[in-house]
Amino acid sequence: MGDIGLIAQVVVNGILFGSMYGIAAIGLSLIFGTMRIVFIAQGAVIVLFAYFCFWLFSLLGIDPYLSLIPIILAALLLGTAFYYGLFREAAAFKDRIGSLLIAVGLMFFLENFMTVVWTPNPRAVVSSYGFYTFRLFGMHFTLVRVIGLVLAILATIAVATFLKKTLIGTAVRAVSEDVEASTLMGINPDRVNAVTFAIGIGLAAIAGTTLATTYSFDPVYGIDFAIKALVALTLGGIGRVGAAFLGGIILGLIELLGTYFVGAAWSQAIVFAVFLLALNFRPQGLFGGATSEKA
């Protein structure tokens, strides 16, 4: 019984952990879907927002969840600036190599920038309730991780609703399918791309805040996170918000269950082995429908 209890605990933690990969993957999915950009800097951006949260907390004493408001607003602005300042040209020409190089450059810039500003030492936001845990169904829950999961679920629902219910959200999906046909409907692709980028970076802000409140981080932590988010995205399936999120959850589960059963050293190898197998047998992702290849 004790064993099963422990496994259940690991499963719960895997889900909580994976939800962060999940929302990072949604951001990647949106940015890749509309602009065909592999935004490898997503992890570094998440860490940047973790530092924002850290600063607001340690310098001004602002509660990390309250700081979500200014951080998300800053993220939406930053996302728009990234698009117009860095990626507009590459997106217009669907230049995947060019945009990947820009993203890699941005990632290295951010890593070095953060190392200078915040030193390479690990940081964490430890609030008064940071270690508060509660028991439910015989399992331990850490409050901040549960809040992280709830935030991730809310963000996922918000983005899915935005894409489904609003006209600009419908336009985002249309641009993902066919940019040229979209412009023939009167849709301005620049505007749609900027909105998409802002949302992707906004999701990074939520992931960054959750990262800051639940783990310690340093300036180069992001690359691992970005690659995991890419794996989550491929695992779940590109093009659907829910699929990307579930891909993240599954990745988190594999990682923690692997650590529990085989050991921490092996868990990373297992993650990527599962990723390669999934790519081989279900290239469209576990939850992706048959993607309609357009002529």
């Binding site: 006209l167 419908t170 336009a171 999906r173 249309a174 399918e177 066919d178 040229e180 046909a181 979209s182 412009t183 023939l184 409907m185 009167g186 849709i187 301005n188 692709p189 093009g239 309609s292 357009k294 002529a295």
Partner: protein, 243 residues
């Protein structure tokens, strides 16, 4: 006589080093159906793409409702009242029929009239109403063409440009598409029609232009060209032999 709705003057269009259109001039009068015919590769699609702003001319000008058009972006040209239904329809297959129609009325000019336009489209194509929540990709070829035209009507355009609307449809559907184009025209929509089905196109066109290797080589009333010996030999006869 009033100025034409659309006037194309001495247009030169290049794809990189290749000149596709040479000194092309044509005009579309308000309320008419104008057919643009010619063989494959003559430059018909290129001309439509240039009018809708997807391509830019190296020389010449395009004037629509007395204002120049050839320097504008595609999305602004839609807002001015020209809608281009591209070859192959280019529906958003993953979006529902209703979502496709919503995007049809995306421009600031069309958006306030969304419900009114939707009613109009559903009257023209009741099948689209029955299937409004179905994905566009699940429709048959004929239904997809209806949706493509319906989506264009949603924009409340002054001019609809149709690129090969009958392509890949059965003879029966081809007939109903041409009937539909006629119906649209009676609803006061001006139409610029590109067709390989030259016989049918000339039959409904008020005015027609023949494009050959990037040049307008002939123009006249549709019914005149239909009986023109040269046209019959060069295009219609050729098609008949193919079948």
């Amino acid at each position: 006589m009033a100025n034409p709705l659309l006037e194309v003057k001495n247009l030169d269009v290049w794809y990189g080093d290749v000149q596709v259109l040479r000194e092309v001039s044509l005009h579309v009068d308000e309320g008419t159906i104008v057919a643009l015919v010619g063989a494959n590769g003559a430059g018909k699609t290129t001309l439509l793409k240039t009018i809708s702003g997807l391509l830019h001319p190296r020389k010449g000008e395009i004037v629509f409702t007395d204002k120049p058009l050839h320097t504008m972006k595609p999305q602004d040209i839609v807002d001015r009242g020209i809608i281009h239904v591209p070859e192959g329809r280019r529906l958003f297959a993953d979006l529902t029929i209703l979502e496709n129609l919503k995007l049809g009325a995306y421009t600031p000019a069309a958006r306030p009239f969304f419900l009114e336009s939707l009613e109009r489209v559903y009257n023209l194509f009741p099948v689209l109403k029955d299937r409004k929540d179905q994905k566009a990709g699940t429709l048959s070829g004929g239904e997809q063409q209806m949706l493509a035209i319906g989506r264009a009507v949603m924009a409340r355009p002054k001019l609809i440009m149709l690129d090969e609307p009958s392509l890949g449809l059965s003879p029966l559907l081809v007939r109903s598409i041409f009937e539909l184009i006629h119906t649209l025209n009676t609803l006061k929509v001006t139409i610029l029609l590109v067709e390989q089905n030259i016989h049918q196109a000339l039959k409904i066109a008020h005015q027609a232009f023949v494009l050959k290797i990037g040049k307008i080589v002939m123009s006249g009333r549709g019914d005149e060209l239909l009986v023109d010996e040269e046209i019959r030999k060069a295009y219609i006869g050729e098609r008949a032999r193919k079948r």
